[in-house]
Subunit: 152 residues, 2 copies
């Protein structure tokens, strides 16, 4: 392995605020930023699908398959960011995130499961089935936001 | 399709700042936020791999495979956010992003290609090969940051 080249990459990370020694214990502010980043990207890639399901955006099979694949990954990325040590960091997360953990976990799992199904269905090219599954994913977004996120 | 449920999901998106009518023309500030979110998550999932390649974090095959899969997706998410209409939004992007577009595209493609190889190699469980490929990905992070991002 070329250690000099790896060092360049790691130097980039460190300069971006990632302390190598702190991987196992990221700062609460970093965890919040990371989980919010996952939500931002879920919005980016779910948005057009929602528009397609509602007929407001032309249906595009290639975009659906790509976005659904991304969402399958993105749906799994936010949750370890809701560490109890982030409780006092300013965000839209409601206290229920930290007190009703079983229900919160259930809502996460539901979203992950429906997003995973969407990724599978999106490969079929069956437009009606895809649109129905987009609806199912949208419902799970709401399921979490309604109970665990401040109204915006 | 259950239109009422889909509407809930879309209402969540709209309340989060995603205008359905504006999908094709996201605001410059939104594009910057989205591309920065992709970078934050690249850091989240590459960081531990860099630590493993340097021997500073214990090698964990399950984490490697998961993170490499995420990075394969994340490596593709930032680039449409560097739209020329974001030129005047405050960020660390250097003017070269918008003037030396061919070289910038080449750097993006190089990163995507190496991240994709890492996802493939990570399934092999060959620790030495994985570590070498982590180094190759790290190099491509630096290749872009050195020329297209303000020194931090």
């Amino acid at each position: 392995m070329n250690k000099r080249l790896l060092s360049i990459g790691l130097a980039v990370l460190v300069s971006a605020g990632y302390s190598l020694s702190a991987f196992a214990q990221a700062k609460p502010e970093t965890l919040v930023k990371q989980r919010q980043s996952a939500m931002v990207l879920q919005g980016k890639y779910f948005g057009p699908l929602g528009g397609m399901a509602q007929g407001k955006v032309p249906y595009d099979q290639a975009v659906v398959a790509r976005n659904a694949g991304y969402l399958d990954a993105l749906s799994r990325m936010a949750w370890d960011g809701f560490n109890p040590n982030t409780k006092d960091v300013k965000s839209a997360a409601l206290p229920a995130v930290y007190s009703d953990t079983a229900k919160f976990k259930e809502a996460q799992d539901h979203f992950i499961s429906e997003a995973s199904k969407l990724a599978a269905v999106s490969k079929s090219g069956d437009e009606a089935a895809v649109k129905a599954q987009i609806g199912a994913v949208g419902k799970t977004c709401g399921g979490c936001h309604e109970n665990f996120r401040e109204k915006q």
